[in-house]
Protein backbone atom coordinates (compact mmCIF):
# COMPACT_ATOMS: atom_id res chain seq x y z
CA UNK A 1 0.00 0.00 0.00
CA UNK A 2 1.40 3.37 -0.92
CA UNK A 3 1.85 6.19 1.56
CA UNK A 4 -0.53 8.52 -0.23
CA UNK A 5 -3.34 5.97 -0.10
CA UNK A 6 -2.79 5.51 3.66
CA UNK A 7 -2.93 9.27 4.18
CA UNK A 8 -6.01 9.60 1.97
CA UNK A 9 -7.69 6.77 3.86
CA UNK A 10 -6.91 8.51 7.16
CA UNK A 11 -8.48 11.74 5.91
CA UNK A 12 -11.56 9.83 4.74
CA UNK A 13 -11.97 8.30 8.20
CA UNK A 14 -11.56 11.73 9.81
CA UNK A 15 -13.99 13.35 7.40
CA UNK A 16 -17.25 12.86 9.34
CA UNK A 17 -15.68 14.32 12.48
CA UNK A 18 -14.17 17.25 10.59
CA UNK A 19 -17.44 18.06 8.81
CA UNK A 20 -19.36 18.10 12.09
CA UNK A 21 -16.64 20.17 13.79
CA UNK A 22 -16.69 22.74 10.99
CA UNK A 23 -20.49 22.90 11.17
CA UNK A 24 -20.84 23.28 14.94
CA UNK A 25 -17.57 25.04 15.85
CA UNK A 26 -15.73 26.43 12.81
CA UNK A 27 -18.63 28.12 11.15
CA UNK A 28 -20.15 29.61 14.34
CA UNK A 29 -16.73 30.94 15.34
CA UNK A 30 -16.27 32.60 11.95
CA UNK A 31 -19.77 34.02 12.25
CA UNK A 32 -18.96 35.37 15.73
CA UNK A 33 -15.94 37.17 14.27
CA UNK A 34 -18.11 38.68 11.55
CA UNK A 35 -20.85 39.64 14.04
CA UNK A 36 -18.33 41.32 16.33
CA UNK A 37 -17.83 44.08 13.72
CA UNK A 38 -21.57 44.83 13.49
CA UNK A 39 -24.26 46.28 15.69
CA UNK A 40 -26.53 43.26 15.12
CA UNK A 41 -29.31 42.48 17.57
CA UNK A 42 -30.07 38.93 18.72
CA UNK A 43 -33.41 38.90 16.91
CA UNK A 44 -34.54 40.96 13.96
CA UNK A 45 -31.95 43.25 12.43
CA UNK A 46 -28.76 41.75 11.03
CA UNK A 47 -26.97 45.01 11.79
CA UNK A 48 -24.50 47.07 9.85
CA UNK A 49 -20.72 47.21 9.81
CA UNK A 50 -19.28 49.32 12.63
CA UNK A 51 -15.58 48.41 12.48
CA UNK A 52 -13.86 48.13 15.84
CA UNK A 53 -16.48 50.27 17.62
CA UNK A 54 -17.71 47.37 19.79
CA UNK A 55 -14.20 46.48 20.91
CA UNK A 56 -13.26 50.06 21.70
CA UNK A 57 -16.48 50.77 23.58
CA UNK A 58 -16.27 47.54 25.61
CA UNK A 59 -12.62 47.78 26.59
CA UNK A 60 -12.94 51.44 27.58
CA UNK A 61 -16.17 50.84 29.54
CA UNK A 62 -15.76 50.27 33.28
CA UNK A 63 -17.61 46.92 33.38
CA UNK A 64 -14.86 45.23 31.37
CA UNK A 65 -11.90 46.06 33.60
CA UNK A 66 -13.74 45.16 36.76
CA UNK A 67 -15.06 41.91 35.33
CA UNK A 68 -11.63 40.93 34.04
CA UNK A 69 -10.23 41.55 37.50
CA UNK A 70 -12.96 39.50 39.19
CA UNK A 71 -12.44 36.62 36.75
CA UNK A 72 -8.66 36.66 37.15
CA UNK A 73 -8.96 36.81 40.93
CA UNK A 74 -11.43 33.90 40.91
CA UNK A 75 -9.22 31.83 38.59
CA UNK A 76 -5.97 32.46 40.47
CA UNK A 77 -7.40 31.77 43.94
CA UNK A 78 -9.44 28.76 42.85
CA UNK A 79 -6.64 27.09 40.87
CA UNK A 80 -3.97 27.74 43.51
CA UNK A 81 -6.16 26.38 46.31
CA UNK A 82 -7.14 23.33 44.29
CA UNK A 83 -3.55 22.54 43.36
CA UNK A 84 -2.33 22.85 46.97
CA UNK A 85 -5.15 20.82 48.53
CA UNK A 86 -5.16 18.35 45.64
CA UNK A 87 -1.45 17.57 46.03
CA UNK A 88 -1.73 17.39 49.83
CA UNK A 89 -4.67 14.98 49.54
CA UNK A 90 -2.75 12.87 47.01
CA UNK A 91 0.35 12.73 49.25
CA UNK A 92 -1.89 11.59 52.10
CA UNK A 93 -3.66 8.96 49.98
CA UNK A 94 -0.29 7.62 48.84
CA UNK A 95 0.61 6.72 52.47
CA UNK A 96 -0.39 3.54 54.31
CA UNK A 97 -3.31 3.93 56.70
CA UNK A 98 -6.50 2.21 57.72
CA UNK A 99 -9.39 2.96 55.37
CA UNK A 100 -7.26 4.24 52.49
CA UNK A 101 -9.16 2.37 49.77
CA UNK A 102 -12.48 3.76 51.00
CA UNK A 103 -11.13 7.32 51.16
CA UNK A 104 -9.76 7.03 47.61
CA UNK A 105 -13.21 5.94 46.47
CA UNK A 106 -14.88 8.88 48.25
CA UNK A 107 -12.61 11.30 46.40
CA UNK A 108 -14.53 10.73 43.20
CA UNK A 109 -17.85 11.90 44.71
CA UNK A 110 -17.45 15.71 44.49
CA UNK A 111 -16.03 15.33 40.99
CA UNK A 112 -18.98 13.19 39.89
CA UNK A 113 -21.59 15.56 41.36
CA UNK A 114 -23.07 17.63 38.50
CA UNK A 115 -21.87 21.26 38.61
CA UNK A 116 -25.41 22.61 38.87
CA UNK A 117 -26.23 20.27 41.76
CA UNK A 118 -23.03 21.39 43.50
CA UNK A 119 -23.98 25.05 43.03
CA UNK A 120 -27.51 24.39 44.28
CA UNK A 121 -26.21 22.48 47.30
CA UNK A 122 -23.92 25.33 48.35
CA UNK A 123 -26.63 27.87 47.69
CA UNK A 124 -28.77 26.01 50.21
CA UNK A 125 -25.86 25.80 52.67
CA UNK A 126 -25.30 29.58 52.41
CA UNK A 127 -29.03 30.40 52.67
CA UNK A 128 -29.44 33.59 54.74
CA UNK A 129 -32.49 32.41 56.70
CA UNK A 130 -32.24 28.63 57.01
CA UNK A 131 -28.76 27.75 55.74
CA UNK A 132 -26.59 25.17 57.44
CA UNK A 133 -23.53 27.45 57.55
CA UNK A 134 -25.39 30.14 59.50
CA UNK A 135 -26.89 27.52 61.81
CA UNK A 136 -23.56 25.80 62.46
CA UNK A 137 -21.64 29.03 63.09
CA UNK A 138 -24.35 30.40 65.40
CA UNK A 139 -24.70 27.17 67.35
CA UNK A 140 -20.93 27.05 67.80
CA UNK A 141 -21.03 30.62 69.09
CA UNK A 142 -18.82 31.98 66.32
CA UNK A 143 -21.56 34.11 64.79
CA UNK A 144 -24.09 36.29 66.62
CA UNK A 145 -26.71 36.60 63.92
CA UNK A 146 -27.40 35.03 60.53
CA UNK A 147 -25.65 36.54 57.53
CA UNK A 148 -26.46 36.64 53.85
CA UNK A 149 -23.26 35.06 52.54
CA UNK A 150 -24.25 35.28 48.88
CA UNK A 151 -26.11 38.56 49.32
CA UNK A 152 -23.19 40.69 50.51
CA UNK A 153 -20.55 41.84 48.01
CA UNK A 154 -17.86 41.25 50.64
CA UNK A 155 -18.49 37.52 51.03
CA UNK A 156 -20.21 36.34 47.84
CA UNK A 157 -17.07 35.75 45.78
CA UNK A 158 -15.32 33.90 48.62
CA UNK A 159 -18.42 31.75 49.08
CA UNK A 160 -18.33 30.87 45.37
CA UNK A 161 -14.62 30.08 45.54
CA UNK A 162 -15.15 27.65 48.43
CA UNK A 163 -17.90 25.87 46.52
CA UNK A 164 -15.79 25.57 43.37
CA UNK A 165 -12.69 24.37 45.23
CA UNK A 166 -14.67 21.68 47.06
CA UNK A 167 -15.88 20.24 43.77
CA UNK A 168 -12.62 20.44 41.83
CA UNK A 169 -9.72 19.71 44.20
CA UNK A 170 -10.48 15.94 43.96
CA UNK A 171 -9.68 16.06 40.22
CA UNK A 172 -6.23 17.47 40.94
CA UNK A 173 -5.84 14.91 43.73
CA UNK A 174 -6.72 12.02 41.41
CA UNK A 175 -4.24 13.18 38.76
CA UNK A 176 -1.51 13.73 41.36
CA UNK A 177 -2.18 10.36 43.01
CA UNK A 178 -1.87 8.54 39.68
CA UNK A 179 1.45 10.31 39.10
CA UNK A 180 2.68 9.42 42.60
CA UNK A 181 1.86 5.77 42.00
CA UNK A 182 4.01 5.90 38.88
CA UNK A 183 7.13 6.77 40.91
CA UNK A 184 9.27 3.58 40.84
CA UNK A 185 9.66 2.06 44.30
CA UNK A 186 13.33 1.30 43.86
CA UNK A 187 14.08 4.98 43.25
CA UNK A 188 12.43 5.82 46.57
CA UNK A 189 14.23 2.93 48.27
CA UNK A 190 17.52 4.22 46.87
CA UNK A 191 16.83 7.68 48.32
CA UNK A 192 16.43 6.07 51.77
CA UNK A 193 19.72 4.21 51.37
CA UNK A 194 21.37 7.46 50.37
CA UNK A 195 19.99 9.07 53.54
CA UNK A 196 17.80 11.71 51.87
CA UNK A 197 15.60 13.77 54.21
CA UNK A 198 11.81 13.71 53.76
CA UNK A 199 11.92 17.14 52.16
CA UNK A 200 14.69 16.44 49.68
CA UNK A 201 13.01 13.11 48.86
CA UNK A 202 9.87 15.07 47.92
CA UNK A 203 11.79 17.79 46.12
CA UNK A 204 14.23 15.65 44.11
CA UNK A 205 12.56 12.23 43.80
CA UNK A 206 8.78 12.74 43.85
CA UNK A 207 8.31 16.22 42.43
CA UNK A 208 9.93 15.51 39.03
CA UNK A 209 7.34 12.75 38.49
CA UNK A 210 4.52 15.06 39.61
CA UNK A 211 5.55 18.14 37.64
CA UNK A 212 4.34 17.11 34.17
CA UNK A 213 0.88 15.82 35.16
CA UNK A 214 0.40 18.75 37.56
CA UNK A 215 1.18 21.25 34.80
CA UNK A 216 -1.47 19.61 32.63
CA UNK A 217 -3.97 19.79 35.51
CA UNK A 218 -2.99 23.43 36.03
CA UNK A 219 -3.62 24.30 32.38
CA UNK A 220 -6.98 22.51 32.26
CA UNK A 221 -8.20 24.02 35.52
CA UNK A 222 -7.06 27.55 34.62
CA UNK A 223 -8.87 27.44 31.29
CA UNK A 224 -12.01 26.13 32.98
CA UNK A 225 -11.81 28.68 35.79
CA UNK A 226 -11.50 31.48 33.24
CA UNK A 227 -14.55 30.21 31.34
CA UNK A 228 -16.60 29.72 34.52
CA UNK A 229 -20.32 30.24 34.08
CA UNK A 230 -22.54 27.50 35.57
CA UNK A 231 -21.66 27.78 39.25
CA UNK A 232 -21.81 31.59 39.21
CA UNK A 233 -25.10 31.66 37.33
CA UNK A 234 -26.82 29.24 39.69
CA UNK A 235 -25.44 30.73 42.91
CA UNK A 236 -25.46 34.51 42.33
CA UNK A 237 -26.10 35.35 38.65
CA UNK A 238 -23.10 37.67 38.94
CA UNK A 239 -24.50 39.66 41.86
CA UNK A 240 -24.71 41.22 44.38
CA UNK A 241 -23.72 44.57 42.83
CA UNK A 242 -21.83 42.64 40.11
CA UNK A 243 -19.28 41.47 42.69
CA UNK A 244 -19.23 37.92 41.27
CA UNK A 245 -19.68 38.79 37.60
CA UNK A 246 -17.20 36.79 35.51
CA UNK A 247 -16.38 37.24 31.82
CA UNK A 248 -18.77 34.53 30.65
CA UNK A 249 -21.61 36.06 32.70
CA UNK A 250 -20.85 39.48 31.18
CA UNK A 251 -20.99 38.04 27.65
CA UNK A 252 -24.25 36.30 28.46
CA UNK A 253 -25.77 39.54 29.75
CA UNK A 254 -24.57 41.53 26.75
CA UNK A 255 -25.65 39.05 24.07
CA UNK A 256 -28.75 37.47 25.58
CA UNK A 257 -30.12 39.70 28.37
CA UNK A 258 -29.56 42.96 26.44
CA UNK A 259 -29.83 41.17 23.07
CA UNK A 260 -26.79 43.01 21.68
CA UNK A 261 -25.43 40.15 19.57
CA UNK A 262 -22.73 42.29 17.94
CA UNK A 263 -21.00 43.59 21.04
CA UNK A 264 -21.63 40.27 22.81
CA UNK A 265 -19.65 38.61 20.03
CA UNK A 266 -16.79 41.11 20.41
CA UNK A 267 -16.66 40.44 24.13
CA UNK A 268 -16.70 36.67 23.58
CA UNK A 269 -13.76 36.98 21.22
CA UNK A 270 -11.78 39.06 23.71
CA UNK A 271 -12.34 36.29 26.28
CA UNK A 272 -11.26 33.69 23.71
CA UNK A 273 -8.13 35.69 22.96
CA UNK A 274 -7.19 35.93 26.64
CA UNK A 275 -7.68 32.18 27.13
CA UNK A 276 -5.65 31.39 24.00
CA UNK A 277 -2.74 33.56 25.16
CA UNK A 278 -2.89 31.91 28.60
CA UNK A 279 -3.00 28.44 27.06
CA UNK A 280 -0.05 29.10 24.75
CA UNK A 281 2.02 30.52 27.61
CA UNK A 282 1.17 27.50 29.73
CA UNK A 283 1.79 25.11 26.85
CA UNK A 284 5.33 26.43 26.55
CA UNK A 285 5.82 26.01 30.28
CA UNK A 286 4.46 22.45 30.18
CA UNK A 287 6.93 21.49 27.49
CA UNK A 288 9.77 22.99 29.52
CA UNK A 289 8.73 21.23 32.75
CA UNK A 290 8.09 17.92 30.98
CA UNK A 291 11.46 18.21 29.28
CA UNK A 292 13.40 18.93 32.46
CA UNK A 293 11.52 16.46 34.66
CA UNK A 294 12.37 13.24 32.92
Amino acid sequence: MSGTWITTRAWLLMLPLLIVMVAVIGWPLADTVQLSFTDAKLVGTSGSYVGFDNYVRLVSGNAFGRTLFTTTFFAVVVVTTEMVFGVLAALLLNQQFYGRTLLRALLILPWALPTVVNATLWRLIYNPEYGALNAALTQLGILDSYRSWLGEPGTALTALIVADCWKNFPLVAMIALAALQAVPRDVIAASYVDGASAFSRFRFVTLPYLAGPLMVALVLRTIEAFKVFDIVWVMTRGGPANSTRTMSILVYQEAFSFQRAGSGASLALIVTLIITVLAIAYGTAVKKVAGSAT
Binding site: T7, R9, A10, W11, L13, M14, P16, L17, V20, V24, I25, P28, L29, T32, L42, A89, L92, Y98, A105, L106, I108, L109, W111, A112, L113, P114, T115, V116, V117, A119, T120, W122, L124, I125, Y130, Q139, W166, M174, I175, A178, I188, G212, P213, A217, F226, K227, F229, D230, V234, M247, S248, V251, Y252, A255, F256, G264, A268, L269, I275, V286
Partner: protein
Protein backbone atom coordinates in the same frame (compact mmCIF):
# COMPACT_ATOMS: atom_id res chain seq x y z
CA UNK B 1 8.37 0.52 52.44
CA UNK B 2 9.06 2.80 55.38
CA UNK B 3 8.42 2.30 59.07
CA UNK B 4 5.95 4.86 60.38
CA UNK B 5 6.52 6.36 63.80
CA UNK B 6 3.42 6.23 66.09
CA UNK B 7 3.13 10.01 65.97
CA UNK B 8 3.19 10.01 62.16
CA UNK B 9 0.56 7.24 62.09
CA UNK B 10 -1.67 9.31 64.35
CA UNK B 11 -1.17 12.35 62.13
CA UNK B 12 -2.07 10.32 59.02
CA UNK B 13 -5.29 9.04 60.54
CA UNK B 14 -6.34 12.47 61.79
CA UNK B 15 -5.66 13.97 58.34
CA UNK B 16 -7.59 11.13 56.69
CA UNK B 17 -10.59 11.71 58.98
CA UNK B 18 -10.44 15.41 58.21
CA UNK B 19 -10.38 14.78 54.44
CA UNK B 20 -13.28 12.34 54.72
CA UNK B 21 -15.26 14.93 56.71
CA UNK B 22 -14.56 17.67 54.14
CA UNK B 23 -15.74 15.44 51.30
CA UNK B 24 -18.75 13.89 53.01
CA UNK B 25 -20.30 16.70 55.08
CA UNK B 26 -21.89 18.65 52.19
CA UNK B 27 -23.05 15.44 50.50
CA UNK B 28 -24.60 13.98 53.64
CA UNK B 29 -26.31 17.31 54.33
CA UNK B 30 -27.83 17.29 50.83
CA UNK B 31 -29.33 13.88 51.58
CA UNK B 32 -30.49 14.88 55.09
CA UNK B 33 -32.25 17.95 53.64
CA UNK B 34 -34.06 15.71 51.17
CA UNK B 35 -35.55 13.53 53.93
CA UNK B 36 -36.19 16.19 56.61
CA UNK B 37 -39.72 17.52 57.12
CA UNK B 38 -40.01 21.12 55.87
CA UNK B 39 -40.61 22.34 59.43
CA UNK B 40 -37.27 20.88 60.58
CA UNK B 41 -35.39 22.70 57.82
CA UNK B 42 -36.97 26.03 58.76
CA UNK B 43 -36.45 25.55 62.51
CA UNK B 44 -34.13 27.74 64.58
CA UNK B 45 -31.93 26.31 65.91
CA UNK B 46 -31.68 24.09 62.87
CA UNK B 47 -32.42 20.38 63.36
CA UNK B 48 -29.47 18.46 61.98
CA UNK B 49 -31.23 15.11 61.88
CA UNK B 50 -34.97 14.59 61.29
CA UNK B 51 -37.00 13.02 64.07
CA UNK B 52 -38.78 11.00 61.41
CA UNK B 53 -37.36 10.42 57.94
CA UNK B 54 -39.64 11.68 55.22
CA UNK B 55 -39.15 10.15 51.80
CA UNK B 56 -42.37 11.64 50.38
CA UNK B 57 -40.50 14.18 48.20
CA UNK B 58 -38.93 11.35 46.22
CA UNK B 59 -42.41 10.05 45.50
CA UNK B 60 -43.54 13.57 44.59
CA UNK B 61 -40.75 14.10 42.05
CA UNK B 62 -40.91 10.60 40.58
CA UNK B 63 -44.66 10.69 39.98
CA UNK B 64 -46.04 11.23 36.53
CA UNK B 65 -49.34 12.83 37.53
CA UNK B 66 -50.11 15.50 34.96
CA UNK B 67 -49.23 19.13 35.74
CA UNK B 68 -47.51 18.21 38.98
CA UNK B 69 -43.96 19.06 40.07
CA UNK B 70 -43.22 15.43 39.34
CA UNK B 71 -44.33 15.66 35.71
CA UNK B 72 -41.96 18.57 35.05
CA UNK B 73 -39.13 16.79 36.81
CA UNK B 74 -39.70 13.51 34.98
CA UNK B 75 -39.85 15.34 31.64
CA UNK B 76 -36.48 16.98 32.30
CA UNK B 77 -35.04 13.66 33.44
CA UNK B 78 -36.19 12.07 30.20
CA UNK B 79 -34.80 14.98 28.15
CA UNK B 80 -31.42 14.73 29.87
CA UNK B 81 -31.27 11.00 29.15
CA UNK B 82 -32.25 11.49 25.49
CA UNK B 83 -29.94 14.44 24.81
CA UNK B 84 -26.90 12.99 26.58
CA UNK B 85 -27.59 9.57 25.06
CA UNK B 86 -27.96 10.81 21.47
CA UNK B 87 -24.94 13.08 21.71
CA UNK B 88 -22.87 10.24 23.16
CA UNK B 89 -23.81 7.82 20.37
CA UNK B 90 -23.03 10.42 17.71
CA UNK B 91 -19.74 11.40 19.35
CA UNK B 92 -18.59 7.76 19.54
CA UNK B 93 -19.60 7.13 15.92
CA UNK B 94 -17.40 10.09 14.88
CA UNK B 95 -14.59 9.37 17.32
CA UNK B 96 -13.88 5.70 16.59
CA UNK B 97 -12.84 6.04 12.91
CA UNK B 98 -11.15 9.40 13.49
CA UNK B 99 -9.27 8.19 16.57
CA UNK B 100 -8.05 5.09 14.75
CA UNK B 101 -6.96 7.13 11.71
CA UNK B 102 -4.91 9.55 13.82
CA UNK B 103 -3.41 6.76 15.91
CA UNK B 104 -2.22 4.80 12.85
CA UNK B 105 -1.40 7.77 10.59
CA UNK B 106 0.53 10.35 12.65
CA UNK B 107 0.84 12.64 9.63
CA UNK B 108 -2.83 13.66 10.00
CA UNK B 109 -2.45 14.16 13.75
CA UNK B 110 -2.31 17.94 13.53
CA UNK B 111 -5.99 18.03 12.55
CA UNK B 112 -6.89 16.34 15.83
CA UNK B 113 -4.76 18.91 17.68
CA UNK B 114 -6.84 21.64 16.06
CA UNK B 115 -10.06 19.87 17.06
CA UNK B 116 -8.82 19.47 20.65
CA UNK B 117 -7.66 23.10 20.81
CA UNK B 118 -11.32 24.13 20.46
CA UNK B 119 -11.59 23.08 24.11
CA UNK B 120 -10.15 26.51 24.91
CA UNK B 121 -13.09 28.25 23.28
CA UNK B 122 -15.57 29.48 25.86
CA UNK B 123 -19.08 28.33 24.85
CA UNK B 124 -20.11 31.99 24.80
CA UNK B 125 -17.92 32.44 21.70
CA UNK B 126 -20.19 30.07 19.75
CA UNK B 127 -23.48 30.74 21.47
CA UNK B 128 -24.88 33.60 19.38
CA UNK B 129 -24.42 32.04 15.90
CA UNK B 130 -25.59 28.66 17.21
CA UNK B 131 -28.67 30.33 18.65
CA UNK B 132 -29.45 32.04 15.35
CA UNK B 133 -28.81 28.84 13.33
CA UNK B 134 -30.94 26.65 15.59
CA UNK B 135 -33.65 29.27 15.40
CA UNK B 136 -33.51 29.28 11.57
CA UNK B 137 -33.74 25.49 11.38
CA UNK B 138 -36.53 25.35 13.95
CA UNK B 139 -34.28 23.43 16.34
CA UNK B 140 -34.53 25.75 19.34
CA UNK B 141 -36.15 23.99 22.29
CA UNK B 142 -35.53 20.62 20.65
CA UNK B 143 -33.66 17.62 22.02
CA UNK B 144 -32.12 17.05 18.57
CA UNK B 145 -30.79 20.60 18.32
CA UNK B 146 -29.33 20.43 21.81
CA UNK B 147 -27.70 17.04 21.18
CA UNK B 148 -26.13 18.44 18.01
CA UNK B 149 -24.72 21.39 19.93
CA UNK B 150 -23.35 19.04 22.62
CA UNK B 151 -21.11 17.52 19.95
CA UNK B 152 -18.99 20.70 20.21
CA UNK B 153 -17.94 19.42 23.65
CA UNK B 154 -18.28 15.63 23.38
CA UNK B 155 -16.74 14.89 19.96
CA UNK B 156 -13.24 16.38 20.52
CA UNK B 157 -13.01 14.78 23.93
CA UNK B 158 -14.06 11.27 22.85
CA UNK B 159 -11.79 11.39 19.77
CA UNK B 160 -8.84 12.23 21.98
CA UNK B 161 -9.68 9.36 24.37
CA UNK B 162 -10.16 6.90 21.48
CA UNK B 163 -6.86 7.97 19.93
CA UNK B 164 -4.96 7.24 23.17
CA UNK B 165 -6.89 3.96 23.40
CA UNK B 166 -5.87 2.85 19.91
CA UNK B 167 -2.29 3.90 20.68
CA UNK B 168 -2.30 1.21 23.34
CA UNK B 169 -3.20 -1.55 20.86
CA UNK B 170 -0.04 -2.68 19.05
CA UNK B 171 -0.31 -2.18 15.31
CA UNK B 172 1.71 -5.38 14.87
CA UNK B 173 -1.47 -7.34 15.68
CA UNK B 174 -3.24 -5.61 12.80
CA UNK B 175 -0.29 -6.16 10.47
CA UNK B 176 -0.19 -9.87 11.36
CA UNK B 177 -3.87 -10.21 10.47
CA UNK B 178 -3.31 -8.42 7.15
CA UNK B 179 -0.42 -10.75 6.33
CA UNK B 180 -2.69 -13.70 7.10
CA UNK B 181 -4.94 -12.42 4.32
CA UNK B 182 -7.56 -10.44 6.23
CA UNK B 183 -8.86 -7.31 4.56
CA UNK B 184 -8.50 -4.06 6.47
CA UNK B 185 -12.19 -4.03 7.30
CA UNK B 186 -12.01 -7.62 8.62
CA UNK B 187 -8.94 -6.73 10.68
CA UNK B 188 -10.68 -3.77 12.29
CA UNK B 189 -13.89 -5.69 12.92
CA UNK B 190 -12.35 -8.93 14.22
CA UNK B 191 -9.13 -7.72 15.86
CA UNK B 192 -8.99 -4.02 16.65
CA UNK B 193 -12.53 -3.07 17.65
CA UNK B 194 -13.00 -5.93 20.15
CA UNK B 195 -9.69 -4.97 21.76
CA UNK B 196 -10.79 -1.33 21.86
CA UNK B 197 -14.19 -2.02 23.44
CA UNK B 198 -13.10 -1.09 27.00
CA UNK B 199 -11.88 2.29 25.71
CA UNK B 200 -15.08 2.78 23.73
CA UNK B 201 -17.06 2.08 26.90
CA UNK B 202 -14.98 4.49 29.00
CA UNK B 203 -15.22 7.21 26.35
CA UNK B 204 -18.97 6.74 26.09
CA UNK B 205 -19.30 6.97 29.85
CA UNK B 206 -17.28 10.19 29.98
CA UNK B 207 -19.27 11.64 27.11
CA UNK B 208 -22.55 10.76 28.80
CA UNK B 209 -21.44 12.36 32.08
CA UNK B 210 -20.36 15.52 30.21
CA UNK B 211 -23.73 15.69 28.48
CA UNK B 212 -25.58 15.02 31.74
CA UNK B 213 -23.62 17.83 33.42
CA UNK B 214 -23.99 20.45 30.65
CA UNK B 215 -25.87 23.59 31.63
CA UNK B 216 -24.93 26.64 29.55
CA UNK B 217 -26.25 25.57 26.13
CA UNK B 218 -29.29 23.90 27.71
CA UNK B 219 -30.11 27.16 29.50
CA UNK B 220 -29.91 29.13 26.26
CA UNK B 221 -31.48 26.74 23.79
CA UNK B 222 -34.38 25.16 25.69
CA UNK B 223 -37.45 26.79 27.14
CA UNK B 224 -40.03 24.23 28.21
CA UNK B 225 -40.74 20.59 29.04
CA UNK B 226 -40.19 19.49 25.44
CA UNK B 227 -36.42 19.93 25.72
CA UNK B 228 -35.47 21.41 29.10
CA UNK B 229 -32.83 19.23 30.75
CA UNK B 230 -32.36 18.27 34.38
CA UNK B 231 -29.62 20.83 35.05
CA UNK B 232 -31.86 23.68 33.86
CA UNK B 233 -34.82 22.31 35.81
CA UNK B 234 -32.73 22.22 39.01
CA UNK B 235 -31.37 25.73 38.42
CA UNK B 236 -34.99 26.88 37.95
CA UNK B 237 -35.94 25.26 41.26
CA UNK B 238 -32.94 26.77 43.06
CA UNK B 239 -33.57 30.25 41.66
CA UNK B 240 -37.36 30.17 41.93
CA UNK B 241 -39.73 30.71 44.79
CA UNK B 242 -39.84 27.14 46.02
CA UNK B 243 -40.55 27.35 49.73
CA UNK B 244 -39.54 23.77 50.48
CA UNK B 245 -35.74 23.54 50.31
CA UNK B 246 -36.01 19.81 50.84
CA UNK B 247 -37.62 19.47 47.42
CA UNK B 248 -34.66 21.23 45.76
CA UNK B 249 -32.29 18.94 47.67
CA UNK B 250 -34.28 15.89 46.54
CA UNK B 251 -34.03 16.94 42.90
CA UNK B 252 -30.29 17.38 43.45
CA UNK B 253 -29.89 13.91 44.95
CA UNK B 254 -31.80 12.33 42.05
CA UNK B 255 -29.76 14.21 39.43
CA UNK B 256 -26.51 13.31 41.17
CA UNK B 257 -27.34 9.64 41.61
CA UNK B 258 -26.51 8.36 38.08
CA UNK B 259 -23.06 10.02 37.78
CA UNK B 260 -22.17 9.23 41.40
CA UNK B 261 -23.08 5.54 40.98
CA UNK B 262 -21.19 5.41 37.67
CA UNK B 263 -18.23 7.14 39.33
CA UNK B 264 -18.07 4.66 42.20
CA UNK B 265 -18.61 1.53 40.11
CA UNK B 266 -16.37 2.53 37.21
CA UNK B 267 -13.76 4.31 39.33
CA UNK B 268 -10.73 2.48 37.97
CA UNK B 269 -11.65 3.01 34.32
CA UNK B 270 -12.62 6.66 34.84
CA UNK B 271 -9.44 7.56 36.70
CA UNK B 272 -7.21 5.87 34.15
CA UNK B 273 -9.08 7.75 31.41
CA UNK B 274 -8.80 11.01 33.34
CA UNK B 275 -5.13 10.66 34.04
CA UNK B 276 -3.81 8.90 30.92
CA UNK B 277 -3.53 12.17 29.04
CA UNK B 278 -2.16 13.94 32.10
CA UNK B 279 0.49 11.39 32.96
CA UNK B 280 1.64 10.97 29.40
CA UNK B 281 1.85 14.75 29.11
Amino acid sequence: MERQSPLFRLFLHVAALLLAAVILTPLVWLFVMSISPAADLAAKPLKWWPAAMDFSRYATLLSTTENSAGAAFMASLRNSLIVAGMATLAAIALAVPAGWAVSRTPSVGWSLSVVIATYMLPPVALAVPLYMALSNFGLLNSVFGLALVYLTILAPFTTWLMKSGFDGIPREIEQAAVIDGASLWQTLRIITLPLAMPVVATSALFAFLLGWDEFFYALLFTSDQRAKTLTVAIADLAGGRVSDYGLIATAGVLAALPPVVVGLVMQRALISGLTSGGVKG
